[in-house]
Symmetry: C2
């Protein structure tokens, strides 16, 4: 599916001047008629490649015993990750890894729907031992041994029922990136910042990195509009080298920045560590382009990040994100999931709700990204009220889209893609 | 194209029990009839995904001005790497990055064919300034500034003509992995090791990591067969965690190992550094699964590897491998390219020949992997005599395959893939 978002420049940043948001959307159907859904967020033409990645996984699902697969989702996930015909394409990164993530997420959507629970509660209902069995500890043991993970989950289980009730009553804090796209005019930026403050968001995020003069002007306007009590984060979308990142962020630091996101290559662990040391007290955040748990492990080992931004479909789905949440808990680094795109808010909220309910047990310094875009296409859309995500209550991972939307935005044959507007 | 290599277990290792070697094969044709070729080596079903990645790049080539593109191959490469619709699928890793690598390699095949020179001589004929213009220094400048690269290339140009003549007369050292596949019997291992010694190879490599008892027995047999004057390297294909790697390699070290290759995840820079410190004097090698120059940069910064194993189609082709060669020269680490697969020997030899002619100027501790498999499908096959690669003399990158082979092994319609043997 593709959405013509480039027509209004929502989503524009220093690396992506005018993207059409897209989603490779997947349905896993059982004989009994139950269906699990998931998608990989992509941009424009990239979606075709992502679909081919997902199609390559079909032979490993067709005809499999549903109870067996859903009964051991850790094993189901590892089988795909270590499938030797496909592993060479990563390993554990890029198109094939994101495809595996979508399949794993669809299986968890299916499992939690069949259990009649929203994903976060389905996960929180599992015992520490069951949760550990979902995790692939290969390559992690020098930072997080299975016994340590078990201890973290046992500690996290204390007071779980109270925290679940609290989440269902009060939700979880959100921050908004809606006002800050690079392609927006100053007037629109100010207007949306004022609206964000009125809406009760604890933090606003602006895209930066194209022009230092623009950044300084836009941050001044944003800070004036939101006042001193709302956080102000910036996101460079990997545009700088290490030294340039340090110089640039120091010039922006006067606006009391909450964090600098993706200052440089997501693969550059040492680079992030140097940037972090160079821009204090501004915090460093990254993760939406971190390919797997092995890179997150090192970002934490190197003390390279202050904020870990997990993404729902960059890694191998729920199972690898469970590993990521455990690593963050071990290193005591807050997780603020990446969202936006197509359906990312819908699925990542489950990770933060689970983490508060059954793992870290804290919301301090934590918030989920929010972008008010494309939610109308989902059966159970994520909902933010007074700057907080409401607890998802419907069974599943909130990943199912409306049949009408699927028909309308299918590319290239959906009605929205008339011949004249095809890119 | 797919080759039924699983039928004889050539290519079997600790992660890939029975692969069918495959290649996503690409032709870039100009109006004047000249054609550039390249391929991405893959395994079995993975090839379909890789083909979709390459297909996504077609719109960026169709109708472009050939002289303009070939006149600035650095820019042509960067345009693909930073194309915003596709970059999200990596960034700079996995299927889409390998697809870009194939396109860039095909463009270099085309350019060197049109210049009437083999790729290594085409590159060596360029000035240091022209070579620097091919490199994307983004994310590298904290380790290698453009001025440093220029200095390295200027120094490398001294005595170039003599070294070119020497290469054309004597070739470049090879080592062989042919004897060491995990699926081979002890008898076959011994026989092929004896043959390798007689053939003049300076080093033999064995796959390890499945069973310590098997490894000890096979290494003893191999060492007896090759004697003390031939190197003996081992390759674990990422099968271990950090601590397991150290323990296992220490137990094998009695056989005077040349190096341990891919002891753990190719993403684990710190892990490689710890393994290296833990297994001395055994050297640590990696690279065939290193996704880009940013990870190589850090492996070198962390002093995590003794041997850098560049791969022809894992990264963004000739241009990114030029960056990798420059990084290796800066850090004074020998490059021993990964080869084998389908057509990897053919293309990587050009990188080592170029490096000796125009950059490092040394062959010390350097050799190119050799596997005597599938060369018969190439128009100008790589050739090893007396344990040395002969200098490629035909114009181009040696990447063109025979039309008969393309017809025979095309999947799924080639004659070799009868219905009964399709996987």
């Amino acid at each position: 599916m593709r959405f013509p978002t480039s027509r209004n420049l929502a989503g524009s940043d220093a690396m992506n001047p005018s993207p059409d948001y897209a989603a490779a959307y997947l349905a896993v159907q059982c004989d009994d008629g139950t269906v699990g859904h998931a998608s990989v967020f992509t941009l424009g033409r990239g979606n075709d490649v992502q679909l081919a990645g997902i199609a390559a996984l079909e032979p490993y699902l067709l005809g499999r015993d549903v109870e067996e697969m859903l009964g051991d989702l850790g094993e189901a996930s590892r089988r795909l990750v270590y499938e030797s015909q496909l592993r060479w394409l990563g390993p554990e990164k890029g198109v094939i890894h994101m495809a595996i993530g979508a399949v794993v997420n669809a299986l968890f959507d299916l499992a939690s729907k069949r259990a009649g629970m929203p994903l976060w509660r389905y996960l929180a209902a599992k015992s520490p031992e069951e949760l550990c069995a979902l995790v692939d500890f290969r390559y992690l043991e020098d930072a997080l041994r299975p016994t340590e993970a078990l201890d973290l989950l046992r500690r996290g289980a204390e007071g779980k029922a109270e925290r679940i009730a609290e989440l269902e009553a009060n939700g979880y804090p959100a921050y908004t990136t809606g006002p800050g796209w690079l392609g927006y005019s100053d007037e629109r930026l100010v207007e949306l910042c004022e609206l964000a403050r009125e809406d009760g968001f604890r933090q606003v995020k602006l895209k930066v990195g194209h022009s230092i003069e623009d950044d300084l002007r836009r941050l001044r306007l944003a800070r004036e509009a939101i006042g001193d009590n709302v956080g102000l984060a910036v996101d460079a979308n990997q545009v700088w080298g290490v030294d340039a990142a340090i110089d640039w962020v120091r010039r922006l630091a006067q606006f009391n920045l909450a964090w600098i996101e993706e200052p440089t290559s997501p693969d550059d662990i040492f680079g992030h560590a140097r940037v972090r040391a160079g821009v204090r007290p501004v915090q460093v955040a990254t993760g939406e382009n971190v390919p797997n748990r092995v890179v997150f492990k090192q970002l934490l080992q190197a003390e390279a990040i202050d904020i870990m931004q997990i993404d729902a479909s960059r890694v191998a789905g729920v199972t690898e994100n469970l590993a990521n949440l455990l690593l963050a808990a071990k290193f005591n680094v807050p997780v603020c999931p990446h969202a936006g795109g197509v359906g990312l808010c819908e699925i990542v909220q489950h990770f933060s709700f689970f983490d508060y309910a059954a793992l870290s047990g804290t919301q301090t310094a934590r918030c989920i990204e929010w972008i008010d875009n494309l939610h109308e296409h989902f059966v159970a859309p994520a909902t933010v009220v007074d700057g907080r995500y409401l607890a998802p209550m419907s069974p599943g991972a909130s990943t199912q889209m409306l049949a009408e939307s699927v028909a309308e935005y299918a590319y290239p044959n959906g009605p929205v893609w008339s011949v004249s507007t095809r890119s």
